[in-house]
């Protein structure tokens, strides 16, 4: 049956996080924006204490591939709820603050890759550390100065030398990169090619532990928004890692699809985060309108509405539309239905919707919207990243287009 009711568990989590986000996250939001890259200890320690008790908060995110039934387990398809739960959680955290959410000490995208493609040993070695000790981060390093959305063009190389892989190259735009490899005992997942002539098929991902010799953070970017989150450049110079630190098969021709499948799980979560930020902006506008006695007349024909009413209603409708597309993609992943197209739909639509919505919020509040007295201008800056990372709006549109047209990469470039 078609249903839109969150489970009691999901409702409780939403409520709990909302109250936390409204407190500690909002309290530090402006400070973290003004003090780029400075760690907010109260927030980090608080979240670490929460997350380490939850196994790092990975919650078993899956990539939409049905898990093989264990022996003796019933064969009937069971619909999980991890991805939906995560979508609800991420929206709420990002409603608190999109930057602080990304700066949370947790396994993040790096952890998601290990969850999706790692062996049991790798999970033990790299994820267990998120259950105790001091706060830790994990990161994902894909982008290079000369390779963005065309991730197949990456040049960072991994060469086998005896019992090691040796990495050489430069990665940029690594979210939480400095936190993961220099400021904590975390790790980074690095995409590198084992055979440049093989193109995409030669690309593998490698687990690089914190403080590995030969790895160095060379720069931390100054950004438009999400300033609480560090975005690092990392250089690898003859960086040696154990042979076992490859994710998935070392065989050329296998694996890229697995790597890409991670995105089917993570893209809806980026969309969920965007929705949280945009919701915060929408709520602020509603609050200001209400305080000023501006009525929004639902149910009046659109051609009779004021521009203000119309904008506000469209903001609400766009937000709901984005959320429903995001929930659909998450629900599909939980149900074990291939969601590659729906994940990109959610991401592309939401990225664009929140960019529009947050700029509308600034516009509707006039000088107040532009002022740093409120967080609305910050939310505009924070929201924009969601139209860019984890695949730009254009790349995700391209994926949707290929899917609906049933075209290969060669047919639709």
């Amino acid at each position: 049956m078609i249903e839109f009711e969150l489970s009691d568990g999901q409702k409780n989590i939403k409520k709990m996080i909302n109250s936390m986000a409204g407190g500690i996250m909002r309290k530090w939001a402006r400070w973290a924006d003004d003090n780029e890259h400075k760690r907010v200890d109260e927030w980090v320690n608080f979240m670490w204490n929460v997350l380490k008790g939850m196994g790092g908060g990975m919650g078993g995110m899956s990539s939409g591939k049905p898990k093989p039934a264990a022996e003796g387990e019933k064969k009937e398809k069971k619909i999980g709820s991890q991805n939906m739960q995560l979508a609800v959680t991420v929206e709420e955290l990002s409603w608190g603050d999109g930057g602080l959410y990304l700066a949370m000490p947790f396994p993040g995208l790096g952890g998601a890759a290990v969850m999706a493609a790692g062996t049991l040993e790798q999970k033990e070695k790299f994820l267990k550390r998120f259950t105790g000790g001091s706060p830790k981060w994990a990161a994902m390093a894909i982008t290079e100065p000369g390779a963005g959305s065309d991730s197949a063009a990456i040049t960072t190389s991994a060469v086998r030398e005896g019992d090691n892989w040796v990495l050489n190259g430069e990665k940029i735009f690594v979210t939480a990169g400095k936190n993961a490899v220099e400021d904590s005992e975390g790790f980074v997942v690095v995409w590198a090619t084992v055979d440049k002539s093989a193109g995409r098929a030669g690309i593998k991902s490698f687990l690089v532990d914190h403080h590995t010799p030969g790895m160095k953070v060379t720069k931390v970017e100054h950004k438009l928004g999400i300033r609480a989150s560090d975005t690092a450049a990392i250089v690898f110079e003859d960086c040696k890692i154990p042979l076992d630190n490859i994710l998935g098969s070392a065989e050329v021709k296998k694996g890229f699809r697995d790597v890409m499948a991670t995105f089917d799980a993570t893209r809806p979560m980026v969309a969920a985060s965007a929705i949280g930020v945009a919701r915060a902006a929408l709520e602020e506008v509603q609050k200001q309108f209400q305080a000023a006695g501006v009525e929004v007349r639902y149910g009046v024909a659109a051609n009779n509405l004021t521009a203000r009413e119309r904008d506000l209603m469209m903001m609400e409708a766009q937000l709901k539309a984005s959320r429903l597309l995001t929930w659909r993609a998450s629900w599909m992943a939980d149900a074990g239905i291939h969601n590659n197209m729906e994940a990109s739909m959610a991401k592309a639509k939401t990225g664009r919707a929140v960019t529009w919505l947050t700029q509308k919020a600034v516009e509707l509040l006039g000088p107040l919207g532009y002022s740093k007295k409120l967080l609305v201008e910050k939310w505009l800056r924070d929201a924009k990243i969601n139209d860019i990372f984890e695949g730009t709006g254009q790349i995700n549109t391209l994926i949707v287009a290929r899917r609906i047209l049933d075209y290969t990469r060669a047919e639709l470039k």
């Binding site: 049956m1 839109f4 024909a301 051609n303 929930w327 639509k349 287009a401 075209y407």
Partner: protein, 370 residues
Amino acid sequence: MVSFMPGEDQKMIQDMAREFAANELRPKSHDADETDTIPDSVLQAGWELGMVNAVLPADLGGSGMERSAVTGALMCEELAWGDLSMAMALLAPALFAYPVLEFGTEEQKKKYLPKFCEPNFFRATAGLVEPYFNFDLSALKTRAEKKGNAYVLNGDKCLVPLGLSSELYIIWAALDGKPGYEKVAGFIVEKGTAGLKILAREKNMGIKALETAELKLDNLEIPADNRVGGEQGCDFKRIASLSRVALAAMSAGVGRASFEYAKQYAKDRVAFGEPIAHRQAIAFMLAEMAWEVDATRLLAWEAGWELDKKMEGAFKEACLAKLYGDQMVVYVTDCGVQVLGGHGYIREHPVELWLRNGRGFAAFEGMVTV
């Protein structure tokens, strides 16, 4: 638990409507638009599938199925995908039957609902929209004033589906001409009642095949017993919301039709040596059309689900779903024409018809229900 999977009954009705739309509606859509007529056989065939009477009570001759706005939305999308005029004509009798079913007095139900369970398509409708640029269904200009044991109605209506040929009408009017949803009441008017003036068949930009009429209510006097729900009246906010869900779902159907047609055309049409769909300029348009249609559908489902659960927020959800659908369908059907270029402008292809039909949604209120 959140789920996007239609239930078994919902799937069955969706499949039935999809097949009917593909086999009966779509092939006749072009000629119906050109000739401004819907073949009676189409209405009869839809009637026999139980599109209106399946949810009427078994003791009055219906099938007694549970009425659900979500299920209705699934059906509306499919029918509108086939042809919007025909979809609206097929479901027009529900504009009378469903408010009576949900809010009517026992006498009203017994008197009128069996007519909708007869073997032949029964023509009935409702008049809501009024011919003013600032038409607002929460502030109707049509007034109803109580005079002794009767109501006297005065005003103008337009876009009344099957407005010329119906046997029964519900006329929506504002009590004493006062604004507010709670002041809107429905009045049962039988064909031929003095004061019910059927002016003319309208000529509109789209939904040409659908017979719509302009009505004039000229001191139309009817017994107080004919007020839907009697003295208690009915929940017009809910009635308006059910209609908005139906319209939003129909806008998704029209948009989907245009998207699918444009997609196929773009794959077949060769320019500069390869299909035009190989170009991002075309492919990106198609991608956006696809997700905008999906977004509208999901908004309609969610609003429908809230109405089924009788949730407080359902009214607002339905407003937003319709608002979104109104804008989406104009954008998407315009893209449909654009993808076909010059061919899209020619009436041999259906995309221009969908643009003309789609443009109407912003003006449509209460012309269909679930």
